[in-house]
């Protein structure tokens, strides 16, 4: 019972198929996955193995062909678009490979954006603390295009943590960064998640990063292989 209560994310026979007949592509094929509160899970696999598709479904960005995703005890696969956007801004923090900051907003505004969209009261000391933790104190007024890749990704991490989501999903967060910066960013991501007690799911094909995780899930041809 207590084990169940700790489960933050669970999938049941999750499938995502594209095309039909001879062209049928099983991007995700019957995946059952359980992630506990506060856990750091890395999902590894080759290019085209279906790991990104899996992440998108976990993050309520994409609908499964069949199967269910349970987030915080709720079956989000049955939710309508409006409820999904609410879930995304309250319970999920995203980190993309290409940072995907909003170019017209400065660093601070990018960080507090999910809170603003949810009309939530701003916990300013908390945000300031995140900014400090990620070393962005001097950059809060900067526009994203004036930042280096590492700085942009740190800003994206801050944005993902700011709304105190239940789970942070990161899709190749170091993919666009050099090794040194990548390691630095990954370390920050891990410490931040730990510090604020958040669950972290990271997609990567970087072995080193995978080894930083509490648990590693291997995916090949849409299936969990280890």
């Amino acid at each position: 019972m207590s084990e169940n209560a700790n489960i933050i994310l669970r999938t049941d026979s999750l499938c995502k198929y594209y095309g039909a007949g001879d062209n049928l592509v099983k991007a995700v094929d019957c995946i059952d996955l359980t992630i506990k509160q506060g856990e750091f899970v890395s999902i590894v696999g080759k290019s085209g193995s279906g790991k990104s598709t899996l992440l998108h479904m976990l993050g309520a960005l994409d609908n499964p062909t069949s199967g269910t995703v349970w987030l915080d005890g709720e079956n989000i696969s049955s939710f309508k678009e409006n409820r999904l956007s609410q879930i995304r801004r309250r319970k999920i923090g995203f980190i993309f490979q290409s940072y995907n900051l909003i170019p017209s907003l400065n660093v601070w505004e990018n960080i507090v954006l999910p809170l603003g969209l949810d009309n939530k009261e701003l916990d300013e000391p908390f945000i300031r603390d995140i900014v400090r933790t990620l070393g962005l104190e001097n950059k809060v007024k900067n526009l994203p295009n004036t930042l280096s890749g590492g700085q942009q990704q740190r800003c994206a991490i801050a944005r993902a943590i700011a709304a105190k989501p239940s789970i942070i999903l990161a899709d190749e967060p170091t993919g666009n960064l050099d090794t040194k910066t990548g390691d630095e960013v990954m370390a920050l991501l891990k410490t931040s998640a730990k510090k604020y007690g958040q669950t972290l799911v990271v997609i990567t094909h970087n072995e080193e990063i995978a080894q930083m995780a509490d648990r590693t899930v291997m995916i090949a041809d849409g299936k969990v292989v280890g």
């Binding site: 998108h56 956007s85 995907n100 017209s104 505004e109 954006l113 969209l117 701003l122 007024k141 526009l143």
Partner: protein, 829 residues
């Protein structure tokens, strides 16, 4: 090259929506240009055919000696020659008519209103021919061989003669609206040479016709050359220029294309090209921005700058190859179908239907096709597309492969932003607009510009009020009863104003009688008129039979007089003290060589009394309202101490419900007095309306064109703003932006454009509209008088902008949402 062509083709296919938008923009541009030009060609051709259809003489000479006619008939320059003379004035109630004699000396002159439908032209002294409606008006049966008795004064003077005529022929009839009174139409009936000779022999008439002639060389000579030829012919027969009146309408039409029409077409076309270029440019500009990564990849693969440029030109060329022919086709056939409709509308509102009868038969023979013009349209559109492509191509050429991969959309030079502590949907809206300051401003300005144009034209059109035109003849109330007086009729002096005032037609009793009619609210007097003569030699007085009516103005009139002041200064008290007068007609002032400071020793004819008064001309103004050529102050007028009431016009104010009944009663009252003339508001409005409709429809067409172009700009702006941010909007949705929030954000952005545009159009539009109105008024365009704020046009503009913007936002959002969130976050277009 083949590779580039294939690449261009596949790019066009890939970016379907952009290709469609460019295609529509190019097609619309071609269509508008072709339609405007084709309409103008058709209009010119119609004017040409109309000019030919009415009459084809080049000039009319007012002969001074009978011998001049025979010299003219043998003159080497003269191709054809005809004569026309007004033999007698018809006396029949208020009918304004003449007995005329027409004769062809040398074949070739044509008058459309002299075409016989049956019978022949008068030969015997008692024969007459005219249009059937003329005979009906004088109470005779319009049949050949029928009898009609007419009273007339030969030469417009002498004794009134009464004679019975036999109708020898009928001319093509003119349909006149039944509402128009006789006095407002000029009638003509034709008599024989035999009758003229009879009167000449009896010494009652002296024949001195006008000669209508054509000179050789219409096809080869310019307007100036023909005019010079006409003048030299006149000089040869001993006539100076003032006796020559050129048929300018015909000559202009035949020798030189209508330069006014052409310049209007050129201006409209330039506006169309300017707006289209802007729209096409911004579509390609956006295209480059979204394509930068792809261009970078092409460059990385070894594409040269020239090849990149060629790729763009190739894309433009392929779209043009489809859009231009389609635009030409629609643009050509639109006027082809609409022109007869416009003619029908014109026909319905025309007073004189003979002109329009010609139009009906012209419909299928109008010459609208002009290959050089269509080629010019193609060239203009191609150049427009080429120019619009230059800047985007220059941008594309500069893209380096490395830059392309790193490239982020819509980057600005700004390094930081002050920003807000919290972020709301409105923050996103403003941040986006501020990031694209230049685009936001350019869009608002271009949309604002087209709206300003719209409001400007609407302001002038809205100020062209039929009622204003009618009010020039009836300044107050609904009816005007006017005393029809002569200035100085020697034969019938009882018709002169000084004699008429002694009859006191507008007595208090008469006014009381009018007031007692059911439905009449009040009867008011217009400022009176008094005849003035001078002993001094003055052409000014000679042309009005030596007697000039004078009226007065009050202190209340000074603002209007000052507004229209041409020269001099209006100081009421000084003018009263020094007996100073004001001339109300600039043209007469110039034509008669008057000058400020001119002194006139006048004799004012107050009934049988003569009042000497020396006046000085000290100001010239041109008020719109009906008034005499010379006016004095009311105080000067009162100082004259007139014995008789000088009222010549009264206004009748009636309740709307009783209008028709009162009109009938007034018509009966007016019919009893041959000196009375009735002007009624509905007739004056009908006359005004027919004049207005000629100008109204083409101008409204231009308004619609401006609106279409403005709308194209709006569509482009909205598409640009949403499509280019597809990815960004996707990220926002991934971060939790709900659909409602997205709609709110996009609508708010659109609202900023709409509000900005409306702000520009209501402020600048009305400012320029008013200036444009003042200019049009100064140029006496459609006799504008008062400025009427185009409130409805503004409301319609606002509704169209709001509705259009919402519809487009909705449409594009639906289109964007067809793609999954993942595709949007990842992808380009």
């Amino acid at each position: 090259m083949k590779m580039i062509f294939h690449l261009a083709l596949s790019k066009l296919h890939y970016h379907k929506s952009r290709t469609l938008l460019t295609g529509i923009a190019i097609m619309l541009t071609t269509m508008l240009l072709t339609a405007i030009g084709t309409s103008a060609i058709a209009m010119l051709d119609m004017n040409r055919q109309l000019a030919v259809a009415q009459t084809n003489y080049h000039a009319a000479f007012g002969l001074t000696e009978p011998e001049q006619l025979s010299i003219l008939s043998k003159h080497i320059n003269v191709e054809s020659l005809a004569t026309m003379e007004n033999f007698a004035q018809i006396i029949n109630g208020k009918m304004n008519g003449y007995l005329r004699y027409y004769d062809t000396v040398k074949d070739g002159i044509y008058f459309s209103n002299l075409e016989l439908t049956e019978g022949h032209f008068p030969e015997k002294e008692n024969e007459i021919c005219s249009v059937p409606s003329f005979f009906e008006r004088v109470g005779a049966d319009p049949i050949v061989g029928g009898k009609v008795t007419l009273s007339f004064r030969a030469g417009g003077k002498g004794e009134v003669q009464t004679k019975e005529f036999t109708i020898s022929g009928l001319l093509t009839d003119v349909e006149i609206s039944a509402d128009i009174s006789d006095s407002r139409i000029a009638w003509g009936a034709y008599v024989s040479k035999a009758l003229l000779t009879q009167y000449e022999e009896a010494g009652l008439y002296e024949s001195l016709p006008s000669a209508y002639l054509r000179v050789y060389g219409e096809d080869t000579l310019s307007y100036d050359e023909i005019e010079a030829k006409i003048i030299s012919t006149a000089t040869d027969v001993g006539l100076d220029e003032e006796h020559v009146s050129c048929n300018n309408q015909y000559l202009y039409t035949m020798t030189a294309p209508d330069t006014d029409a052409i310049s209007i077409v050129v201006v409209i076309s330039l506006v169309v090209i300017l707006f289209s270029a802007l729209v096409i440019y911004s579509i390609y500009y956006v295209g480059v921005i979204t394509d930068i990564q792809e261009i970078g990849k092409l460059k990385a693969l070894g594409a040269s700058r020239r090849q990149i440029a060629r790729l763009f030109f190739c894309q433009g060329g392929i779209v043009c190859a489809f859009a231009i022919p389609l635009g030409l086709l629609i643009g050509y056939f639109l006027p082809w179908f609409l022109f007869p409709q416009v003619i029908r509308i014109l026909n319905a509102s025309a007073l004189d239907s003979t002109r329009m009868d010609h139009l009906k038969s012209l419909r299928n023979q109008l010459h609208m096709f002009s290959l050089p013009f269509l080629l010019a349209v193609i060239a203009s559109v191609l150049i427009t597309v080429w120019v619009s492509l230059l800047k985007p191509i220059r941008m594309a050429k500069k893209v380096s492969p490395v830059e392309a991969i790193r490239y982020q959309e819509n980057t600005t030079d700004c390094k930081s932003r002050r920003g807000h502590l919290t972020v709301k949907v409105s923050t996103l809206t403003w941040a986006n607009l501020a990031r694209n300051k230049r685009r936001t401003l350019v869009t608002m300005l271009t949309m604002g510009l087209s709206s300003v144009l719209f409001i400007c034209v609407a302001a002038v059109m809205n100020s062209c009020r039929v009622e204003d035109l009618a009010r020039r003849n009836i300044q107050e109330g609904e009816f005007r009863i006017s005393l029809n007086y002569a200035h100085n009729d020697k034969e019938y002096p009882e018709n002169n104003l000084d004699a008429l005032v002694q009859q006191n037609y507008f007595s208090e009793e008469f006014l009381a009688q009018l007031s007692s009619i059911e439905g009449v609210e009040s009867v008011t007097r217009a400022p009176g008129n008094i005849l003035a003569s001078t002993d001094e030699e003055s052409a000014f007085f000679e042309d009005v039979q030596d007697r000039l009516p004078i009226s007065y103005f009050t202190r209340e009139d000074i603002p209007e007089l000052n507004e229209q002041l041409v020269s001099g200064e209006i100081d009421y008290d000084r003018m009263t003290a020094n007996n100073e007068i004001l001339c109300t007609h600039k043209y007469s002032f110039d034509a008669y060589g008057l000058a400020l400071g001119d002194v006139f020793p006048l004799i004012l004819h107050d009934g049988d009394r003569e009042i000497p008064l020396t006046v000085t001309l000290t100001a010239v103004s041109q008020p719109e309202s009906y008034t005499t050529l010379i006016i004095m102050t009311k105080d000067s007028w009162d100082n004259l101490g007139l014995t008789y009431d000088a009222t010549t016009d009264i206004y009748v104010h009636v309740k709307e419900a009783n209008y028709d009944d009162v009109k009938k009663t007034l018509q009966d009252i007016v019919a009893e007095n041959e000196h009375f003339e009735l002007y009624s508001l509905d007739e004056e409005m009908a006359i005004g309306r027919s004049g207005l409709s000629l100008i109204k429809y083409p101008i409204y067409l231009i308004l619609v064109l401006i609106a279409v172009i403005g709308f194209m700009n709006l569509i482009n702006t909205m598409i640009t703003s949403i499509i280019t941010r597809k990815k960004e909007l996707g990220i926002l949705q991934a971060l939790g932006l709900s659909n409602q929030q997205l709609v709110r954000m996009l609508s708010a952005e659109g609202m900023v454009f709409t509000t900005g545009t409306l702000l520009i159009s209501t402020t600048l539009g009305h400012l320029f509209g008013y200036l444009f109105f003042l200019y049009a008024k100064k140029m006496h365009f459609m006799s504008l008088t008062g400025y009427h704020f185009p409130i409805w046009e503004t409301v319609i503009l606002a509704l169209v902008l709001l509705g259009g913007q919402s519809a487009i936002t909705l449409f594009i959002r639906k289109k964007v949402e067809k793609e999954s969130l993942i595709e949007r976050i990842r992808g380009q277009e």
